[in-house]
Amino acid sequence: MRLRNVWVTTISVMIAASLAACGGGGGNSVPPPPPGATPVDKATVGDINGTVVLEGAAPKNEPIKMSAEPYCQKVNTTPQFQETYTVGGDGKALGNVFVYVKDGLGNYIYDPPSGSATIDQKNCRYHPHVFGMRVGQTLEILNSDMTLHNIHATPKGNSEFNTGQPMQGMKTEHKFNTKEIMVPFKCDVHGWMNAYVGVLDHPYFATSDDGGKFSLKGVPPGTYTIEAWHERLGTQTASVTLGAKETKDVSFTFKAPAAPTN
């Protein structure tokens, strides 16, 4: 009888865990705010804008050989390179740097994220290469290619997953339960495909564009630590004090490695 109870309990826990793991997939289930949290006063919020630059000569990005996959070769008629160093025309502006408020936020209730975050597998590359999303927000994973991909996330704090998408147009959804900087994605079929997502419990994050520019909008007044993350050059931080309705600029400068590292 005792053994039977153990089995019933074990099976019940497994079913409950499976249901929890499968989730619903649909909307954004942002975790409830901590006790005592107050909404952000939109009348006082400001913006933190800035630029990320690279000091020194940018290393050449690693060329990608797509010969193992005829489809990928066919849809990419020009030479393809990794996106490790996305440098603007001036040779200094650094794109694909994830910038976010690391520290200093008070006890706020944030608006739920509007819609889903999306990562698309198109022309055998991930789009976007670096992006951010909220804890509990739905991530839509699309396969726009006429070939198969597997999307394999290798987080440290969240659960690892590896999902196959053998058909064009397939869409799967995933949610991260814990904030994490950064969660790497890779495709084990096409070894050159990689991407990174920053998962945060607040909405103050952005990715620098090709001109190295970023903007954190609607930030409440306060003193913050802002961190900039680059996949190869590591992180840099800056401190910013933002008054009510202020706009502040902050810049990050990464030093290029002495010799090409990729």
């Binding site: 193992a68 996959e69 005829p70 489809y71 070939t147 198969l148 597997n150 394999h152 290798t154 690892e160 590896n162 999902t163 196959g164 053998p166 084990d188 079929v189 096409h190 070894g191």
Partner: protein, 324 residues
């Protein structure tokens, strides 16, 4: 005929080890995210047009493994039906059990995203299964059934057995190194960070360093075994041939190991290093088993009451039947 088939199974297993090492060397272990299906398809109906990129290696490994599994079913059944030696029947069943367990471990590595412990166990069991097939091929060979060439040398037995154990340990270290991504933890060769020992340490460097030290220890042990064979059993070709092959293989193996580091883990060099390691182990096992052959003859007997008193050994009796 059974001996030839056993050799076929052992040879197929070498091919399977190569396929498995290519999966790791190309980092393709998770390119097929599901198991036992492949992207939802039955393994055998998964369209070849989709065997692209890393899938070619991972799915190919699964198909070759399945083929070896089927061959092993035939081998175990064949032994069960025609070999009169009870321990051989058990060995055939053990081989079948090992290959089934190996398949399950392979599935677990996929489902749990290549945990180093499971992946290393998968690599270790691959070697054990390969050794089992080699042992079956040896035990079914005409040479094994001829008892007249068996050498009785306790020193050789100790040396050869120790060598085989050391080679197996060294392969485990190598597997741990591969599956913890420590293959280039020490990036230079023959020096280590410019010195004779690393100037700094972490877990990966320690594993890599142990593998290099292990290579030295294994080489010395193999050399000692071979010298013993050449000196004490120079006329016994069943010992001198595998002993000489063992020395040649370990030279190739060390060269491949060095080239793996110097080439920054070139896929084919890295993979052949794994295969050559398995061949070193199998050859050492052959020397070891042949050094113990005489003991197979004189193993203690448990005779049934109505057994003819002249029969001294159950194993001898079985061997004689097999020869007939």
């Amino acid at each position: 005929m059974l001996h030839r088939f056993a050799k076929l199974v052992a040879g197929s297993t070498v091919f399977l080890v190569l396929a498995g090492s290519l999966v790791t060397s190309t980092d393709s272990g998770l390119s097929v995210p599901d198991w036992p299906t492949s992207y939802g398809w039955n393994m055998f109906s998964f369209p070849p047009s989709m065997w692209v990129g890393g899938i070619f290696y991972e799915h190919g490994h699964r198909l070759i493994a399945t083929t070896v599994g089927m061959l092993t079913i035939v081998l175990a059944s064949w032994i069960w039906l025609v070999d009169p030696r009870t321990w051989m029947k058990r060995l055939g069943v053990a081989a079948l059990g090992a290959v089934i367990l190996q398949g399950l471990l392979g599935g677990l590595t996929v489902i749990f995203f290549l945990p180093p412990a499971v992946s290393t166990a998968h690599a270790a069991l691959a070697e054990i299964f390969f050794c089992t097939t080699v042992a079956i091929a040896l035990f079914t060979s005409p040479g094994w059934k001829r008892s007249d060439a068996a050498a009785d040398d306790s020193t050789l037995r100790r040396l050869a057995t120790t060598t085989t154990a050391l080679v197996f340990g060294q392969i485990l270290l190598g597997a741990a190194m591969r599956h913890t991504d420590a293959g280039l933890a020490i990036p230079d060769f023959p020096l280590m960070f410019g010195g004779l020992v690393p100037d700094h340490w972490d877990a990966k460097i320690a594993i890599h360093f142990s593998h290099r030290v292990g290579a030295l220890v294994v080489s010395m042990s193999i050399l000692a075994t071979a010298v013993r064979v050449w000196r004490a059993h120079a006329a016994n070709r069943s010992l001198t041939r595998p002993a000489t092959l063992l020395v040649a293989l370990v030279v190739v193996q060390i060269t491949l190991g060095a080239l793996t580091v110097l080439s920054r883990r070139d896929v084919w060099i890295n993979s052949f290093h794994v295969v050559c390691g398995a061949l070193v182990l199998a050859t050492s096992l052959v020397v070891t088993l042949r050094s113990w052959r005489v003991r197979f003859l004189s193993e203690p007997v448990r005779l049934k009451p109505d057994t003819t008193p002249a029969v001294r050994s159950v194993r001898l009796q079985a061997d004689q039947k097999a020869r007939a």
